[in-house]
């Protein structure tokens, strides 16, 4: 018993932070219908501002005021006023992508402002971390742990009193049903919405400041993991119950530490499973809780009153423009191919070949999200599966790298089918969260074994050889990657133009109607998941072969999110969009490399903000601009008098 307690008690502070976040998440999801994926970034923002203030010599109460009482609500309000307010009744995909954009842009924006140096030993909020207050079951309880628990309990008590015994609390709960109905009842729903965002952002800020000193270093990535733990806790409360979310958070924190105590130390299980616990819990909950599944279909009863979303530029553009763009795309591709083989310097050829591999991975997002309306946040994991399968087969069985690349795609497809199984029953948000959890599991556990990704040391994939054809040189490999990309693009185009593509478009438009005309949605989803996973796997294996050595870090779970916002920005509906994404990804990275290191933060900021415009430009803000420019140029040619 003593041993049990000594393992369990250190989990309480973590549990408290999870619980605060979970409560805040449920609060905004219930009342605004937006599942705020950027919540982790909000927590990070407050933790960072607190750190900066305290290190500038401010007393910690002043830092707390600045970071949690002022900055956190301001950030939350800004997000609500400038973004979430406009998309409350938008489709789930739009909400998720927008929130994802913020999740990726905010930490980078902060690092651009405050600098991205290492931040060690984050300060404690209230009681000093070095002094031990008392011992429980042999555990020394220090100031950080004690203050975390006390502050959490006080805040949660206050919040629950408010929601049940005040007018504003009642209105907040009414908002959960329908903001518009609340408005029709003569209540200023905007004001209630503001109150909710202030409260929830305050909780995020508080959680961030409390969590920071529990780690040795202040890192944005810890807060993404915190977010998933909070999501799992929120899911324990079916995303509706605040008390269950709260106790779920506490429970997760404790069980996590218990696992750490009882599992053999030093094994992959203890180093991997412990941090992966929230994700595993989330997956199980999504599959097991029927209430949770129905919850995803919840939408505003008045949402039909909204005007339909604007048609995409592709729909208005007309056939002439479509053909011009397609022809122009092929022409640009041809020029690009010839250039890379002739005058482009070797290091840039390498970069652009990387871009080709990424383009193949991004094709999977075009197929899955653009063409089918499904959201997957684990495409980097599929790429990793492809790469590691290829590496292991080549090194153990000595098979040709070509066969390895194909096998990588095939294994990824099989895993894709397994991941798609929950997708049959779940949709939208649940699928996004399940794939996010799968990606994190793969990253933290699956890829750490010597027989898979081999942890930080990674695995080797040689360049392929085919008889006398040798693809070891940069240019030869470029040709190979180019041909492979064209082949994969042809597959996606064939699917799009065929019956399957039309059925996918129908499913994207309305699953209900698609089923009622005889479309087997389950089969369709499995097929599309498998093909998408295969594409990502092939792209990943190709990338691995290009690099020579790849480790799980090349396919980490955060990259899946970045991939998503990149493709959504450059164009998620077209094959051209995927190639634009691949090229933009590597070229921008390379260009930023020439600039001071701080500037590298521009990358996530640009694409994050690009994703935020998804509600306005579902075809991708870059694609939209491209069409506009082409239209202006063509229009000028057609009607020269209109210009002069």
């Amino acid at each position: 018993m003593t041993q049990f307690l000594s393992y369990a008690i250190p989990g309480l502070p973590y549990g408290c932070v999870f619980a605060l976040m979970a409560v805040g998440l449920v609060l905004t999801y219930q009342t605004s219908g937006v599942f705020n994926l950027a919540y982790g970034a909000q927590a990070y923002a407050s933790a960072l501002i607190f750190y900066v203030c305290v290190n500038a010599g401010w007393p910690s109460w002043a830092g707390f005021l600045a970071a949690v009482v002022v900055a956190a609500p301001l950030l939350g309000l800004a997000m609500d006023r400038f973004l979430y307010r406009f998309i409350r009744s938008a489709p789930v995909l739009v909400k998720l992508v927008s929130a994802l954009g913020m999740l990726i842009a905010i930490p980078s924006a902060l690092q651009l402002i405050f600098g991205s140096q290492e931040r060690l030993a984050p300060p404690s909020l209230w009681l000093p971390p070095d002094s031990v207050y008392f011992h429980v079951a042999g555990d020394a309880i220090n100031g950080t742990e004690l203050s975390t628990v006390i502050v959490t309990l006080a805040v949660v008590l206050l919040a629950s009193l408010m929601s049940h015994f005040t007018q504003i609390g009642l209105r907040m709960r009414a908002m959960a049903e329908s903001p518009r109905m609340v408005q029709l009842a003569g209540i200023n729903s905007e004001r209630v919405g503001v109150a909710i965002w202030v409260l929830s952002s305050f909780l995020a800020g508080l959680a961030g400041v409390l969590l920071a000193p529990l780690f040795a270093e202040l890192q944005a990535l810890n807060f993404t993991d915190l977010l998933v733990a909070a999501i799992a806790a929120a899911a324990l409360g079916s995303l509706t119950s605040l008390p269950l979310a709260f106790w779920g958070g506490i429970g997760l924190g404790v069980v996590q530490e218990l696992l750490g105590g009882y599992l053999p130390s030093g094994s992959v299980l203890s180093s991997g499973l412990r941090p992966a616990l929230p994700f595993a819990v989330l997956i199980v909950l999504l599959l097991a809780l029927p209430g949770l599944r129905e919850r995803w279909f919840h939408d505003d009863p008045l949402s039909a009153c909204d005007p339909p979303p604007p048609p995409m530029a592709a729909a208005i553009g007309g056939h002439g423009l479509e053909e011009l763009l397609r022809g122009g795309g092929w022409a640009v591709l041809a020029v690009f191919f010839v250039s890379c083989l002739t005058w482009v310097p070797g290091n840039w050829t390498f970069t652009l070949t990387q871009g080709l591999a990424y383009s193949i991975i991004f094709l999977s997002i075009v197929l899955l999200t653009g063409m089918s309306g499904q959201i997957s946040l684990c495409q980097a994991a599929f790429a990793g599966i492809g790469a590691f399968t290829c590496a292991q087969l080549v090194s153990h069985f000595g098979i040709s790298v070509f066969v390895g690349i194909v096998a990588g795609g095939a294994v990824a497809a099989v895993v894709g089918v397994v991941v798609a199984m929950p997708a049959l029953r779940l949709g939208g948000l649940a699928l996004a969260l399940a794939t996010l959890a799968f990606g994190l599991l793969a990253d933290n556990v699956g890829f750490q074994f010597p027989w898979s990704g081999n942890g930080d040391s990674g695995v080797n994939i040689p360049r392929p050889q085919l008889g006398s054809l040798n693809f070891t040189s940069g240019k030869a490999f470029f040709v190979l990657a180019f041909v492979l990309l064209i082949a994969c693009a042809a597959v996606v185009l064939a699917i799009r133009q065929g019956t399957t593509g039309r059925e996918l478009a129908a499913m994207r438009g309305s699953e209900l109607a698609a089923a009622s005309i005889g479309t087997n949605l389950a089969k369709l989803k499995i097929t599309v998941f498998a093909v998408a996973a295969a594409l990502a796997g092939v792209g990943g294996a190709l990338y691995g072969s290009l690099q020579g050595t790849v480790s799980p870090n090349d396919f980490n779970s955060f990259l899946s999110l970045v991939f998503m916002v990149v493709v959504v920005t450059t164009g998620v509906y077209t094959v051209q969009g995927a190639i634009q994404a691949g090229m933009a990804y590597v070229i921008l990275y390379q260009v930023l490399d020439y600039l001071p290191s701080e500037w590298r933060n521009l990358f996530p900021i640009l694409f994050g903000l690009g994703a935020v415009t998804y509600a306005l430009h579902p075809e991708g803000v870059v694609e939209w601009q491209k069409r506009r420019v082409v239209e202006i140029v063509v229009g000028w040619r057609k009607h020269p008098e209109a210009v002069g």
Binding site: A494, A506, T519
Partner: protein, 251 residues
């Protein structure tokens, strides 16, 4: 033998009984109405017939075959078409594409390998689709994005999407809602013409009783999940029980 026969259908949502021992039967080519106040269970009955929801009790036979355990798409392939109270259109697709995809699915032409070798691609316009577009008066707007069409056109596209599959039974969920009087009259005329040409059986949920009378011969009346009357429209509407439940009494 009736085309579709539902017997003893019950459906509960938690503690609420949406359908309580409801039986319906529709013959081939027959048009039948389904009226009742909001919340009477009309849409739930539709959902049970086409498989969106599963029954708690009872059974449904279609052409003499039990279908109540089949999925939505399987029932659609047997010949049950449907439109929706709240339009369910495929965003980003034109009316022609709506009909095309339904026609393809109907021919069960959706094999992935066919797409990959380029056999799944539409090369020539499909006569059946083109004819139907003209018949429904959608030929003028056939290539416009669906988002730019009026609500009335949207209803017609839903109807066309169902009809292109040559359904034996068509479930129409409040087709006149959102239409103005002129559009509603036009839609009723289209339905009559469809019946005259194709002998499609129809089950029509509708609040607009003029509309109902124009299209169907007999009607069912649902109230609080119970079937309270059935018979010829004018007779049913004169029934005092129905008047009390649905129309309200003038005292």
């Amino acid at each position: 033998m009736a085309l579709v026969e539902g017997t003893g259908i019950s459906k509960r949502y938690g503690g609420i009984v949406a359908l309580d021992d409801v039986s319906v039967a529709i013959d081939r080519g027959e048009a039948v109405g389904l009226v009742g106040p909001n919340g009477a269970g009309k849409t739930t009955l539709f959902d049970c017939l086409n498989g969106v929801r599963h029954l708690d009790a009872g059974e449904i036979c279609f052409e003499g075959r039990r279908i109540d355990r089949l999925a939505v798409y399987e029932r659609a392939r047997l010949g049950i078409g449907r439109t929706f109270q709240r339009l369910e259109l495929f965003g980003g697709m034109s009316p022609r594409e709506h009909l095309m995809v339904a026609e393809r699915v109907h021919r069960a032409d959706g094999r992935l390998w066919k797409d990959l070798i380029g056999r799944g691609r539409a090369r020539a316009p499909v006569a059946r689709v083109e004819d139907l577009l003209v018949e429904l008066g959608l030929d003028e707007v056939a290539d416009d994005p669906i988002e730019s069409l009026s609500h009335g056109h949207g209803r017609l596209v839903e109807l066309g999407r169902a009809l292109v599959q040559d359904p034996l039974l068509l479930l129409l969920d409040e087709p006149s809602s959102g239409l103005d009087t002129r559009e509603a009259v036009g839609f009723a005329a289209v339905l009559l013409e469809v019946r005259a040409r194709r002998q499609t059986a129809m089950l029509l949920v509708e609040h607009d009783l003029d509309f109902v009378q124009r299209v169907v011969e007999r009607t069912y009346v649902l109230d609080f999940g119970k079937m309270i009357a059935s018979g010829r429209v004018d007779e049913v509407l004169a029934d005092p029980v129905v008047r009390r439940a649905y129309l309200g009494e003038v005292t």
